[in-house]
């Protein structure tokens, strides 16, 4: 090694330079890495979601969508609220299969998210046309929430529903492809047919189906 003393494999100047650079690098990493983790942490943190009471079974029919407000994010007021359009499942037109969990039959009520699958504006249900219409870019969905026209890339998202304690409960969101097969929740604008389900993989932080053994009890009615 040129410049090194007898029997040494590296010159002392080179060694000192390396030590100084390493020390600087370690010092910079000591504040950069935690800060980066701070910023990226939420991507990997799964958000909890609890069943919420929507109403009584009598509130819903097969023919009319009820507009229900639910809380998606706690503690941030109006910004954390969202809308579900809910009706009773009609076996004559709703061909997607039911499934059961812990003895509960899930999705006996169809709860469509108001989030448009083009870019996330809120759709409204137009009763006369039996269509969901988005005000932003003209997305249209039919009675089952399937795309009937405009730019949306997949049918409206849905919420899990179940009936217990004489009440209808609403759970977390899930996404569907054009066959109404269930997928973990995706953001708007992400198609799930064909290659789409691989281009837009599921995420680490979306809510999963919460346990059904711990449903919130309905409010006490005074005098009963």
């Amino acid at each position: 090694m040129p410049g090194a003393f007898e029997g040494e494999t590296v010159s002392r100047r080179r060694f000192m330079t390396g030590v100084a650079h390493s020390a600087g690098g370690i010092a910079a990493a000591a504040f950069t890495l935690p800060a980066l983790g701070f910023a990226l942490g939420p991507i990997f943190q799964r958000e909890p979601f609890d069943w919420q009471i929507l109403g009584k079974p009598d509130d819903f029919t097969e023919l009319v969508y009820e507009t229900k407000v639910l809380t998606i994010v706690e503690g941030i007021g109006e910004a954390g609220k969202s809308i579900a359009y809910v009706r009773k499942r009609d076996p004559a037109i709703d061909t997607e299969p039911l499934f059961s969990k812990n003895g509960y039959v899930l999705n006996n009520y169809v709860a469509l998210s108001s989030r448009c699958m083009h870019l996330g504006c809120p759709v409204r249900y137009v009763e006369a046309a039996e269509r969901f219409i988005c005000p932003c870019h003209g997305g249209v969905y039919n009675f089952r929430g399937e795309v009937a026209g405009g730019p949306p890339v997949r049918p409206l998202d849905r919420f899990y529903t179940l009936e217990a304690n004489g009440y209808v409960y609403i759970g977390p969101r899930y996404s569907v492809n054009s066959e109404l097969d269930r997928f973990s929740p995706r953001d708007p604008g992400e198609p799930l047919d064909g290659i789409g389900q691989y281009l837009y993989p599921s995420r680490f932080d979306t809510s999963v189906l919460p346990p059904t053994n711990n449903l919130p009890l309905p409010p006490q009615v005074p005098g009963t």
């Binding site: 910023a39 990226l40 939420p42 991507i43 943190q45 958000e47 998606i72 994010v73 503690g75 941030i76 007021g77 109006e78 910004a79 954390g80 870019l119 996330g120 504006c121 932003c136 929740p185 995706r186 953001d187 708007p188 604008g189 992400e190 281009l199 837009y200 993989p201 995420r203 932080d205 979306t206 809510s207």
Partner: protein
Amino acid sequence: MPLPKLMKGAAPAGTDLGGQEVLHPVDAATEAGLTVVDWIDERTQLTPGVRWLMFRKVPKGINWAYTLGSATLFAFLNQAVTGVFLAMYYRPDVNGGAYESIRNINDNVFLGQFVHGMHKWGASVMIILIFLHMGRVFFFGAYKYPRELTWIIGVVLLILTMAMGFTGYLLPFDQRSYWATIVGVNINNTGPFIGPYLGDFLRAGPEFGATTLSRFYAIHMLLIPGLMAALIGFHLYLVTKLGISAPPWLKAKEPESVVEVVEV
């Protein structure tokens, strides 16, 4: 023994009683200023740098289009200054406090509506100026060798300015800014593979949540402005170092020594 004090005007103008010259107060103040400048300059040696930056040779035929870069710089400075003072009153509280603080700025704070307006309209002015500046550089061919890096940094600055517009749009936190941000984040999500995670990063979660607003605020007023200030500094260094390109209609004159005159 000190001499007795004489009436004003007893000594000739410009001298004291001992016959020494005295300075007029205005001259003395000028002198004091120069002394301070000299004191700083002797320790910093800044004069050559300032001269290098300010007194440059510019090509013949430059016109008003060459001032668009400076105009963009001043638009940036306007945004920086008004933004700093808006931050004194703004509160990134997602539970209605953000909207209330903007309403307070507009309705109650002295000159609040004006400063807010300067920031809001200045943002649009900056976008317009940056595109005009970019158009000037493009159509004059000023991006060519050796100024490619200046162009690349300029494009990064354009993207950062757009990101400033995107993050700043949410801050008033009214219906328009909320839904515009929902749509904007969802556009980010449509990028294949990393899009969904990019959206989660911007929102700090799968939904618009409790920290989305403060995250946008931090990006808007700390992260990007710092980055932009550094890049603008480097951009200006390159402009000074490489000089300004001549307008394309100005033909470079061949020196007479290389022109061969042929008698026919």
